[in-house]
Amino acid sequence: MSKKAYIVVTNNPLVKEQLDETVGVCYFSEDSHRDLLERVRDFVHKGYRILTHPLAGSVKPWETPYRSVMITAKREEKTDLFSLEMIEQAIFALEKSKARPVTLNEKVLADFQIVDFSLIQSALPSAEAHGQH
């Protein structure tokens, strides 16, 4: 694990593979998209802040199985309201659509991984620049 001020919580194997050596990655291979968001919510309840939007991207949350969320590495005393609202709204948004492709072949899964990775990657320069959070 790195000593960075942020960590990435993910169920995306590509994110683990790509970032594990440079960034702290909490990887939960078995998590569904919803499980992962609930896990992030538990982190928020314990005093971690969310650093990237949990609805990142316009790939609808009910389509892609992958999600990566960046949170602070350090726990704080108080629950952060902004983070809490954001994660609850994200979980709520998951339930909105019935459209849900179930047959996802390897190629599609790989592409979903790439997009999710790209979204979290787009936050890295900002997170690095930010320093202490």
Partner: protein, 349 residues
């Protein structure tokens, strides 16, 4: 084709029996159209006709709610109508509530297409807008000429089984269901129009009202704690072990009422949480962390408070998604008041 049969409900005033002094007359049925019914017959043209009119005093209806509903439903049933219309009630509060109640009853119990009408600020509008179609009218009876054709148009649509449009198209008060339709102007033009209205202090209507943030005035303080009964309520989902009522882990559709007579402490053996909105480990270890029965019992013994109510109420509601809990909160409040509870400590997770 034969005309659709319409039954129309109006109050004593619109039946020209009298004003407030006649508001206590019980329901009666008259043949054909009465008062505003004539405007409806005109609006229906040759497609439908008011075959009978039910008249009831506003006070009588509201003071004898169940009896009024049943009597009126019987009267309507006899007529075998295809359409039921009530009012419009404009800004008359009790008339609006009567129109809403009877329209809902006709819709759900008789399964007959039913439409009413009233002013947006009529208390009946808020009570029934999500249950029945309420055509939006102005605040005075002068609007009858415009209201009747709108109500007739929607009623005919329902009777023919045609699809109802968005609220803005079919002129009903928004019922919480978002519905697409094509506007006359494109969105950017509507935005510019709305902006100009906003700049110039003219009225405009947002196309998507934000969820509402209304307030309730605080109740007066309790003078003497040692004389009152206090109840515990939680949205943290604490339930007896095994979750006997099957309270859902989030956005529950029901609540639980649990007897704690003789219970001094919510132990891990007896209680757990059904809430899916937080890490349940800590509440499962000791449910007093969410519903402080142990502390309240001590205060009861010491006489700090008069009594801890022998039931606690529990449901699950995530912090921000509170809309759905409104209905059962009303029911919980009703029961607490019936049990002579004086105050409530509500815990949330």
């Amino acid at each position: 084709m034969s005309k659709f049969r319409v039954v129309h409900y109006i109050n004593q005033f619109f039946a020209q029996i009298g004003g407030e002094e006649k508001a206590d007359i019980p329901p009666e049925k008259r043949e054909g159209a009465v008062g505003p019914g004539l405007a409806f017959n005109k609006a229906f043209g040759d497609e439908a006709e008011v075959v009978s009119t039910i008249v009831c005093g506003d006070s009588w209806f509201n003071e004898n709610l169940e009896e009024a509903k049943n009597t009126i439903l019987d009267m309507i049933r006899e007529e075998k109508p295809d359409i039921f219309i009530a009012g419009p009630a404009f800004n008359a509060g009790r008339y609006g509530v009567a129109c809403g109640s009877i329209t809902e009853a006709v819709k759900t119990e008789l399964g007959i297409p039913a439409v009413t009408g009233m002013y947006i600020e009529n208390p009946g509008a808020d009570m029934f807008r999500e249950k029945v179609y309420i055509i939006e009218t102005k605040n005075s009876a002068a609007d009858m000429r415009k209201a009747a054709p709108k109500m007739a148009k929607l009623a005919l649509k329902l009777a023919k089984g045609e699809e109802v449009g968005a609220s803005a198209e079919d002129d009903y008060i928004p019922n919480g269901i978002r519905k697409n339709f094509f506007e006359k102007k494109r969105g950017s033009q509507r935005a510019v129009d709305m902006l100009l209205a906003k700049i110039n202090g003219k009225p405009y209507t947002t196309e998507y009202p934000m969820p509402d943030f209304d307030r309730v005035d605080p109740q007066p303080a309790i003078k003497d704690l040692s004389k009152v009964t206090i109840a515990l309520v939680t949205s943290g989902g604490i339930v007896p072990k095994g979750n006997p009522d099957h309270i859902e882990s989030s956005s529950a559709t029901k609540f639980g009422e649990y007897d704690i007579t003789g219970v001094d402490d919510l132990t891990a053996d007896g209680y757990e949480t059904a809430h899916g909105g937080y890490d349940p480990v800590y509440a499962n270890e000791d449910a007093d962390r969410v519903v402080p029965v142990d502390v309240m019992r001590e205060f009861e013994r010491e006489g700090v408070i008069g009594k801890l109510h022998n039931k606690f109420y529990s449901t699950t509601g995530n912090g921000t998604a509170v809309a759905s809990s409104k209905k059962f909160a009303e029911e919980i409040a009703k029961r607490l008041i019936a049990d002579e509870v004086d105050a409530v400590l509500l815990t949330s997770t």
